[in-house]
Symmetry: C2
Subunit: 234 residues, 2 copies
DNA sequence: ATGGATCAAATCCGATCGGATATCTGATTG
DNA sequence: CAATCAGATATCCGATCGGATTTGATCCAT
């Protein structure tokens, strides 16, 4: 309900505080609704509803939806309208992991070389946050887990020094898709162990180890989710 | 100049031809102007101009520009306006090639496994088209070369069967950037040889060879462009 | 008095809005 | 069961609002 204005998208060295774009707020509001599953996968998103709900005109809403579409989080059908991206299926999940497997280990290796010390510190903070997550409430716990996991990987992608790689991985919105699929799951401590290995390798400035650790992490993550998938299907 | 309505973006199995979106036409028009360098890199793009020039309202123009921005071909500065993406610099070019190097060889290998026969036929057509290009006019020749080269790689990415990989590579608009950088160059026949190796490997359904050939091709292409870059600077 | 800097009005242009039009959907009727 | 009608929704438009840029006039320092 409360829309987070803070988007982690722009580097925002912001020496100059420009007036907020209305579209940004709308973007955040819709993004939250997608994350919180208030808008279910495949659910229709009517512009008119948002006009009433958010009290702004169509223009900023269309602008925000346009961006979300570009990110693959909503889909637009001509003369039909917008809807939330459909639930990711098995094939989509495999494609997602295939692509991550190609890019993220490289990113981790580069990050081990190039990442500034303060970014590594942030990484440690995120990592320790994830360990704090105890299951008071399974759902909200997993939500925070997914959020942190996303931030962890995003920071490493950023640390690769390759903006295109960072954008590419950000565009996948891995944590959103996985969360929407498995929000009923509990956070696993396996991921914590794997993250620790990656973190240590980066701290030691050991690219090879970072690459291997990342590859291992993604591979294991894939197996966890795949097992889950086949469990459901029968 | 003539704007093709047909965008190669959507898979377009198009069972139903819906009325054309005005935004699509605008998209094509601007895209052409970027490709033809009528709008130079970094050049301002005023909405009002396009309103007069194309005879449509602001809305479809904003919609088109929004999409172009998502694709990274134009940049938007809040309360300032739109402008064409700036000339790619050396660092950007390296990032571009680093990413391609990670993804495209894999895509080629997958394509060798999965690509349907008729797609391979299209690939051959494009390949032979590229050989036909003789330098009547250096610039238009290179333009056609860049176009075909883009289509060649796009088709292979599509043939990988991984939509995310296809989107990722399409989003880079490699041929646009390279063309805008080197439109004064002449098409090289080296690329033709390298393409031939890739094509043969795919036809033979040999994933390993396709992967190697693609890796080799990108590596050589990178060297060609890098040499050119340092020639200019030095 | 001249050169440079500062401030303010005027103009330009994007951001936002509300409304008009065309299309799709599904419900009703012959 | 087909055709039609009504409701809903997206597309597109023209206009207004507000921030940004430019111009030029004024003021200070040399």
């Amino acid at each position: 309900m409360t829309n987070r204005t803070g988007e982690l998208k722009h580097s925002d060295t912001g020496l100059l505080r420009r007036p907020t774009r209305l579209g940004d707020e709308v973007y955040g509001a819709i993004y939250s609704q997608l994350m919180s599953l208030k808008i279910p996968p495949g659910g229709r998103i009517a512009v008119d509803n948002l006009v009433r709900e958010l009290g702004v005109s169509q223009t900023p809403i269309r602008e925000a939806l346009s961006r979300l579409e570009a990110q693959g989080l909503v889909v637009k059908t001509h003369l039909i309208g917008y809807s939330a991206a459909p639930q990711m299926d098995l094939s989509g999940l495999e494609q997602l992991y295939d692509l991550r497997m190609l890019v993220e280990p490289f990113a981790a290796a580069q990050a081990a070389k190039l990442m500034p010390e303060e970014a590594i510190a942030s990484l440690e903070t995120i990592d320790s946050d994830m360990r704090q997550v105890r299951d008071e409430d399974a759902r909200s716990a997993y939500s925070r887990f997914a959020q942190s996991d996303g931030a962890f990987h995003d920071l490493i992608a950023l640390g690769s020094g390759n903006g295109l790689i960072h954008d590419t991985l950000a565009r996948l919105h891995t944590h959103v898709h996985l969360f929407r699929l498995y929000f009923h799951t509990r956070a696993t401590s396996d991921a914590n162990r794997e993250h620790a290995r990656i973190l240590v390798a980066i701290k030691n400035r050991n690219p090879k180890a970072a690459e291997t650790a990342m590859r291992d992490h993604i591979e294991r993550s894939r197996k966890r989710f795949m097992r889950f998938f086949t469990d459901i299907q029968g």
